[in-house]
Amino acid sequence: MIDIFEMMDRPALKLTRRRAIACLGATGLGLVVGSRLTASAPPFGGRQTAYAPPAAGTLYKVVYDAREAEGRAFGARFAAAGFPTVTVEDDPTWLWFDDLHHRWRTAGVAGLTTPAVAFSLKLMAEQAGLRTVIWGRHWIGPSRTSHVVAATEPALAAWKGQAEVGATWTESLHGMIVAGAAQPATPARFNHASGAHEDGAREMVSWLLAPVLKGSV
């Protein structure tokens, strides 16, 4: 049995030839890559305020990696359903800083991104009092895609239900996330796993970060 909760907290750190620079970043010596959004920041408020309860069933924004076909399909599905969407690539800094940070305490944020983007946003969200309602790891291999998903019970039921009627996995994510956002809670310790991933598979992570009803830090 895979312990999804052991796995979900950790980023798949993929450093390449630029790893030296990344390591410098860890010590503050590095160069930083950022592609800033043009959204303007709201007036400085002096300090953070207490958090309001979430509005059930809402999603403030849906984030996707438009470089990948799966990300585009995911984004298109949510856009067609009327949800506001935004793209992200490798560094979520300015998406978080200029946009998500200001609103995600009152409504959930979902996405299909690289593991590193998902991990960074998850840590920032948890620091802001949100909880990880859904965390799905998807390994897209040459011939098949495998999944390990931790989600609340209604969300997981929606995921499985859509898969059973022949929906693609990105379509199934839509149903799962909408169901998860309707009743945001920390998932119980169960998961859905669909076999080992193929060698050379690339990983994407689907996620729903949302405030739960209890006030938190």
Binding site: L13, L24, A26, G28, Q48, P115, Q127
Partner: protein, 542 residues
């Protein structure tokens, strides 16, 4: 009340619940966290012992909003003998996260105390509370048009105050790159609830709390860094003035053996204020060797798997065969443009004495930037970021794809070519023995008067592999102590072992710390075990 199973040592469930209810009456029940879901947030995401019986897990967390609430919590903690583990904001990944050293401690989460008390642009300082993050401070500077820079570590989610207390490092100038060095004045809640201000802050209405480091009498600030003698609730620190110009220049040294010529030049350049901040010395010629999975018996490891350090000739031959340079030093210059140009010219002149050295000059960036320039420059090294996690993440494959985290081993050693090579050879030999990989590229950090390594030991989802990492870490600490190389900070899990290396005169330094601990925190309430300092009631069992 939903209370998780992990309780503070010596406390039963009913007593703990009574204490928690009292704390909830102080801070509000919504700011007390005892359920398993809530506690999960305070576990170490990178712990090599995650999910194992010896993982350190808090009994809960309480989040005060102000000093009076902190003081009230300390009084309750003393009454019930509950160990408290203060954390600021951020994650401290690689060094233990928010998880306490002593399992069952109650986390005192100071994130709600996030007031920026003052930023003084003229005098280039700030005074902040623990919950202020680098991003919060950056936002404040931007929104108020303040032309000061923050010296920050990798991910910007951390706390300037918390990072300084743990002696984190940044990179602009030697004066501020050591974040503890840039601090200036503290406000501290002691274990008994007493509120103390240090330095000039001890003078009511002090005008130079955050600009003159010392007050009068004993300089006690150091007692609150890497320790457990108090809870720091405010800190003043020096900031970096936005420079007129910034330029990066890269020095590339082809031969491995030329390190013996290069390091004395670096020392001279640092001592003459030409190089004004720390930098990393990269080794492109050996990077690839660290990418290959064990067992690897390629030419590099044949060279390294010997009892003695390879000779200069052997290293040179290996590097030459790779076709890559042996050493690359990316340097940063900032300040007045004419001075920056003169600094870079001096670097080129001095290193020009080494055959084959080449130089690459990046375009000069002049401040302030126009909005068009801001959009055009993707590399903004003066802005905090989450980019440390993003670098290279889309590139597929590679030897690190199975990595799920890391723990840092960060030994410091003298700034000599001999020590740089020795540290690399010996510490990598230890990792090789344990079949443990690092997530870095074996770079050397060069600073004013010393050098060091920051090795991120790779963690995976494999418990057996992670157990090897733990064993390797302990071995690294032992070997480092033998060599006289010590870490500048360490992971919460290994603090006892690292501190044990500071053993002069039968551990006189630790005994002094214990004497102070017993006097200032007789019930052992604050951060039991942090940096090896245990309260009396737990000490005898260790």
């Amino acid at each position: 009340m939903n209370i998780a199973t992990k309780l503070p040592p010596g406390l039963d469930h009913a007593t703990f619940e009574r204490a928690i209810k009292k704390m909830a009456a102080i801070v509000g029940s919504q700011w007390v966290f005892t359920s398993a879901d809530d506690i999960d947030l305070y576990r170490d995401p990178y712990s090599p012992r995650r999910g194992q019986p010896d993982e350190s897990i808090p009994s809960g967390a309480v989040a005060p909003d102000n000093i009076e609430e902190v003081r009230a919590i300390m009084r309750i903690a003393n009454e019930y003998r509950i160990p408290i583990y203060p954390v600021s904001t951020g994650r401290n990944l690689g060094y233990g996260g928010a998880a306490p050293v002593l399992s069952g401690s109650l986390v005192l989460d100071l994130k709600r105390m996030n007031r920026i008390i003052e930023v003084n642009e003229d005098l280039a300082y700030a005074i902040v509370e623990p919950g202020v993050s680098y991003f919060d401070l950056y936002r404040h500077l931007q929104d108020n048009g303040i032309k000061l820079w923050i010296d920050f570590p990798g991910p910007g989610w951390g706390s300037p105050l918390g990072n300084a207390l743990d002696r984190g490092v940044g990179g602009y100038r030697f004066e501020t790159a050591s974040h503890w060095n840039q601090h200036c004045g503290l406000e501290v809640v002691l274990a008994n609830g007493e509120l103390v201000r240090t330095g000039m802050g001890a003078m009511p209405n002090a005008k130079i709390w955050a600009s003159f480091k010392y007050g009068l009498g004993p300089d006690v600030d150091g007692l609150f860094s890497q320790s457990n003698f108090g809870i720091v609730t405010k800190m003043g620190f020096r900031m970096t003035r936005q420079p007129q110009a910034l330029m990066s220049g890269i020095v590339t040294i082809p031969r491995h053996s030329d390190l013996h010529k290069a390091v004395p030049i670096f020392r001279q350049l640092i001592d003459h204020d030409i190089i004004r901040g720390p930098f990393a010395l990269l080794s492109p010629g050996v990077e690839d060797a660290y990418q290959i999975d064990y067992p690897d018996n390629g030419p590099f490891w044949k060279l390294m798997d010997q009892p003695e350090q390879p000779s200069d000739e052997e290293y040179d031959a290996y590097i030459m065969a790779t076709g890559k340079p042996a050493w690359v030093a990316p340097l940063r210059f900032m300040g007045i443009e004419e001075v920056v140009q003169a600094q870079w010219a001096t670097v080129k002149k001095w290193f020009g004495a080494i055959d084959g050295v080449s130089f690459q000059e990046m375009p000069m960036t002049r401040f302030p930037l126009s909005e068009e320039q801001r959009e055009a420059i993707p590399m903004k090294e003066w802005e905090p970021s989450l980019g440390a996690f993003a670098m290279g993440t889309r590139a597929q494959g590679g030897w690190l794809t199975a990595s799920t985290g890391h723990i840092f081993f960060s030994p410091m050693h003298p700034l000599t070519s001999h020590d740089i090579l020795k540290a690399r050879f010996v510490f990598n030999g230890v990792l090789r023995k344990h079949k443990v990989k690092t997530v870095d590229a074996n770079l050397a950090l060069i600073a004013n008067g010393f050098s060091g390594m920051v090795m991120g030991l790779r963690l995976t989802e494999d418990k057996v592999e992670n157990a090897r990492v733990r064993a390797a870490y302990l071995d690294l600490v032992k070997v480092g102590a033998t060599l006289g190389y010590a870490e500048y900070r360490t992971h919460a899990m290994f603090m006892d072992e690292v501190v044990s290396g500071f053993s002069f005169n039968n551990h006189a330094l630790l005994r002094l710390a214990e004497t102070l601990k017993d006097a200032i925190d007789p019930n052992g309430i604050i951060s039991a075990g942090r940096y090896g300092i245990w309260p009396k009631y737990l000490r005898k069992n260790r």
